[in-house]
């Protein structure tokens, strides 16, 4: 238990730092790389939460595909690789209080409702089979919709990006 907590703490710290660096760094590529840190941290958290399938999917899809996409996008849009001043717009000042208020509200709510509730340790772990049962069972319709979305996204991306 203690090891999990320590593990959690270290990974959480890394994630937070990484997130902060994503939103504050002036270098776009750096921001992408810090995002990778966050994403991997999330994958590690999933492992801690006994959700291996999700962790793996996270790594495969997010880090493997999405981040590559981001990097492609960065390159193709000739954002300056290297420092770039003024990546913050005029509302940056507004963003901090908003985020803080939001965090405060959420924290209050969480503290209020969950308090010091512990995660169950003896529950049966969820395996992939159960996940697939859910997908192809009650949540079949969203699955189909999702497939259409992906189809649309694919076609859309091609249409948008082709040179005509």
């Amino acid at each position: 238990m203690v090891a999990q907590n320590i593990g959690f703490a270290i990974i959480a710290a890394a994630m937070v730092v990484g997130a902060l660096r994503v939103v504050t760094t002036t270098n776009v590529v750096h921001a992408a790389l810090w995002l990778v840190v966050v994403l991997s941290g999330a994958a590690a958290q999933y492992i801690l939460l006994a959700a291996e399938f999700i962790a793996v999917t996270q790594v495969l899809v997010y880090i493997g595909a999405v981040m590559v996409l981001f990097l492609f996008g960065t390159m193709l849009t000739r954002s300056r690789i290297g420092t770039d001043s003024g990546l913050n717009n005029s509302y940056a000042k507004l963003g901090i209080p908003v985020a803080m208020v939001l965090f405060a509200a959420m924290s209050l709510a969480l503290a209020d409702s969950f308090g010091t509730e512990e995660l169950p340790t003896d529950s049966s772990l969820i395996n992939t089979q159960q996940i697939s049962d859910q997908i192809f069972g009650p949540y079949l319709l969203p699955f189909w919709a999702l497939s259409f979305v992906l189809l649309a996204a694919v076609i859309g991306a091609i249409v948008l990006a082709r040179k005509d």
Partner: protein, 774 residues
């Protein structure tokens, strides 16, 4: 208190008497039929008119016979109660308005006269107005007139009398203006209507005054309202009325009679009324309508008797008017060239005789004169029509278009002469028995001055009628009478005649005059003439006083008995209790009626006196008449035929005579007085005042209102419209613009701003949710 009275007999009645109300109703229905269907009928409505009048005549004749039976069924002194039937047609607040008939001797005699002459005139008109443009309407109006007069005669109450009176006035207007395309005719119709209307105000005032004065007494004593003629008569003789009230009422009623019967000063309309067709003149303006005024006085005689104190004085309002009328009208008849105008003035003069008789207490002679005058005057008028129709080519000018006609028109000539002699009062024609009785009784009752006036009038009547006869039937034929050519005469007609149909507006008619000269008229014209002439000869014998009491039929049948009547039931047959033994001779007993209040019961008629006949008086008046005829004959021959140098142009040479002549020609300047002075004096200031009122007051108000509204609207515009209303509109626009300007930056197009807003809102919402739920 009472002496033993005879057992009085119940009076007989009969179907005709009970249903005499049909007599005016039938012509009224006839009128309606003619108006609606007349044009489609084969004889254009005249057959309905004739039939209805003939039916009325039959009914009137039947009623007359039954009345005579009724009189004979009673005793000599018994009051012969009229046959009364009434129907309630309106009740309000305790007042009952009834309509009904009251048939007594006076009503019967006038009914017979009116029905008879109406029938004859209708027959006459079928020939006289053949082809006329408004043939149907003429007969409709003629029938309606008869209905109106008959209704007035049978009327039991003053309201029906008033109704009949007004209908007659209306029909007179319509008939005088029958050929209204000629302006003179419509002016004459209007003049007639307005002049009579002026008098009619008197009738309204009189009826109203009598109602209010008598109603209490009549309802209490007789159970009838103050409109009932019997009630008013009884009230007048009861000694109850205030003398001023009844005097004023009598004057008011007599003013109406002055207007309707053409007495001075309202006589000016009668001569002008000759503009109407001759049948109209003979029916309305000689025998029937103009005697309505006389009838009114005769009907309501107790009122006048008491009001003017007729047997007490030597002269009263009625006699004065009557006397003046006799003389001035006779004088005017001398200067007329139009034959109908001569007859019109003669009518006015004779009406003056009737009024004089009534005013002097000679009730029966005056009523008898109505009877005889109707026949001979109608005959004279119809004769004039016959002359114009067949001889003088529609001209009535004696000097220009007549003369020597006795050779061509024997029937017309003979009937004319008979009627003229009757008019002059020559024995044994009817006028002698009626007119001379008037003069005689006038003198007997103490009105000596008026008796002399009556004799002078008789002289003048004889004189002017001789002149007219001479000009028409003797001498050499002049103008149209000599068969002169059409065309030249037309222009003469158009310019010289204002009182009869100008040829230009006359319609087609059996136009064979152009081919031959004057000739006798057809049977439809001559038959009425003959009938009337026969009556002019014989009707006098119905009341031939000279031959003794046995010959005085009308006195028995028509004169109401001046006895005290005890009404056992209201309107029921009266039983007269005689106060003393009856005696046939006058002076033996006196009925209190007319001189004192009856102690019990009521009086319906005052006691009158009758002058005993003396042949000496008769010879005096006959002598005067013959003198008049002779003088006039001589003068006419000298002036017109031999054109004696001393006489021709005399009025131009002699200043006095010229002045007199001008006075007569201008009808005493009365027309000038009425039309130019009185009417202008009344109408002029009124119209000037109305104009002033319109310009200064009404327009002033208008202008000031306009000015005020201008100022108000200006203020309104500046302050309210511009400032308030426009201000509101403008400011709302500005406010909207401002709000829009304020809100526009929200849509800046900047994605980051959208995102910022979105998440800020989410944060706030989250906060709120948390706070609420915790």
């Amino acid at each position: 208190m009472f002496a033993a009275s005879e057992a009085l007999k119940t009076l007989s009645s009969g179907w005709f008497l009970e249903n005499a109300w049909l007599i005016p109703v039938i012509p009224a229905i006839g009128f309606a039929i003619i108006i609606f269907f007349g044009k489609k009928l084969p004889m254009k409505g005249s057959e309905i008119g004739l039939l209805s009048m003939f039916a009325s005549l039959v009914l009137a004749g039947g009623a007359a016979m039954q009345w005579i039976d009724r009189v004979n069924s009673g005793t000599k002194e018994q009051f012969i109660a009229p046959v009364v039937r009434t129907w309630d047609w309106w009740q309000i607040g305790g007042m009952h308005f009834t309509i009904g008939q009251s048939i007594d001797g006076l009503a019967v005699i006038v009914l017979v006269v009116v029905a008879f002459i109406s029938t004859l005139v209708q027959l006459y008109s079928t020939e006289y107005l053949k082809g006329d443009r408004r043939y149907t309407h003429f007969f409709a109006a003629l029938t309606l007139f008869s209905a109106g007069m008959l209704a007035m005669v049978i009327a039991e109450d003053t309201i029906l009398l008033l109704l009949g009176w007004e209908i007659m006035g209306l029909c007179s207007f319509m008939l005088i203006g029958h050929w209204w395309e000629d302006g003179a005719n419509s002016r004459a119709a209007l003049k007639a209507f307005f002049t009579v209307r002026t008098g009619d105000m008197g009738l309204l005032i009189g009826v109203a005054m009598l109602y209010f004065a008598s109603n209490d007494w009549t309802t209490e004593n007789l159970g009838v309202s103050g409109f009932s003629i019997r009630g008013i008569s009884a009230w007048a003789l009861s000694g109850e009325p205030n003398s001023t009230v009844i005097l004023v009422a009598s004057i008011a009623l007599f003013i109406a009679a002055i207007g309707k019967s053409g007495q001075f000063p309202l006589h000016t309309w009668l001569p002008d009324a000759m503009a109407g067709p001759t049948p109209v003149s003979s029916l309305l303006h000689s025998s029937t309508m103009v005697v309505a005024g006389v009838f009114l006085v005769a009907r309501l005689y107790p009122v006048f008797f008491t009001g003017f104190d007729i047997l007490g004085t030597g002269g009263n309002f009625i006699t004065v008017i009557g006397g003046i009328t006799i003389v001035i009208a006779a004088a005017l008849a001398f200067v007329q060239n139009d034959i109908k105008k001569v007859l019109a003035y003669s009518t006015v003069s004779q009406l003056g005789y009737m009024m004089l008789g009534l005013g002097a207490g000679a009730w029966l002679p005056a009523v008898f004169h109505i009877f005889t005058h109707a026949f001979f005057k109608a005959c004279l008028f119809l004769g004039a029509g016959s002359i114009s129709h067949s001889a003088s080519h529609h001209s009535f000018d004696m000097k220009k278009d007549m003369g020597g006609l006795r050779k061509f028109m024997p029937i017309t000539y003979t009937t004319w002469i008979i009627s003229t002699l009757a008019l002059c009062g020559v024995f044994p024609f009817s006028g002698f028995f009626s007119k001379d009785e008037i003069i005689d009784n006038v003198g007997h009752n103490g009105y000596q001055l008026f008796m002399i006036i009556g004799l002078i009038g008789a002289f003048m009547t004889a004189a002017y009628m001789t002149r007219a006869t001479y000009l028409t039937f003797f001498g050499e034929p002049r103008g149209a009478a000599s068969g002169e050519h059409h065309e030249e005469l037309h222009d003469d007609h158009a310019t010289s005649h204002d009182s009869h149909d100008a040829h230009a507006v006359h319609d087609s008619h059996g136009d064979d005059h152009a081919s031959h000269g004057p000739h006798e008229s057809g049977w439809r014209i001559t038959l009425p003439l003959v009938l009337l002439a026969v009556l002019a000869l014989s009707s006098g014998f119905l009341n031939a006083t000279p031959f003794g009491a046995k010959w005085e039929r009308l006195k028995v049948w028509v004169e109401p008995r001046p006895e005290v009547v005890m009404e056992t039931a209201p309107g029921g047959p009266g039983h007269a209790y005689v106060l003393a033994l009856p005696s046939a001779e006058e002076g033996a007993y006196k009925s209190p009626c007319g001189s004192e209040t009856p102690k019990e019961g009521v009086c319906y008629a005052p006691k009158l006196q009758h002058a005993p006949f003396k042949w000496s008086k008769a010879f005096l008046s006959l002598g005067i008449v013959f003198l008049g005829i002779a003088l006039s004959w001589i003068l006419s021959t000298m002036l017109y035929t031999r054109k004696d140098k001393r006489l021709v142009g005399l009025t131009e040479r002699n200043a006095v005579l010229r002045g007199g002549y001008n006075l007569l020609i201008n009808k005493y300047y009365l027309d000038v007085l009425y039309e130019k002075v009185i009417v202008k004096a009344v109408a002029g200031p009124i119209s000037a005042a109305a104009y002033w009122f319109n310009q200064k007051v009404l327009d002033g108000i208008l202008h000031s209102v306009a000015g005020v509204s201008r100022v108000a609207s200006g203020w309104l515009y500046r302050n309210i419209d511009q400032r308030v209303v426009d201000g509101t509109v403008n400011n709302s626009g500005k406010a909207t613009k401002g709000a829009g300007g304020v809100l526009a930056p929200v849509q800046s197009g900047k994605v980051s701003q959208y995102g910022a807003l979105l998440f800020s809102a989410a944060a706030v919402a989250a906060l709120v949710l948390v706070i609420i739920n915790s």
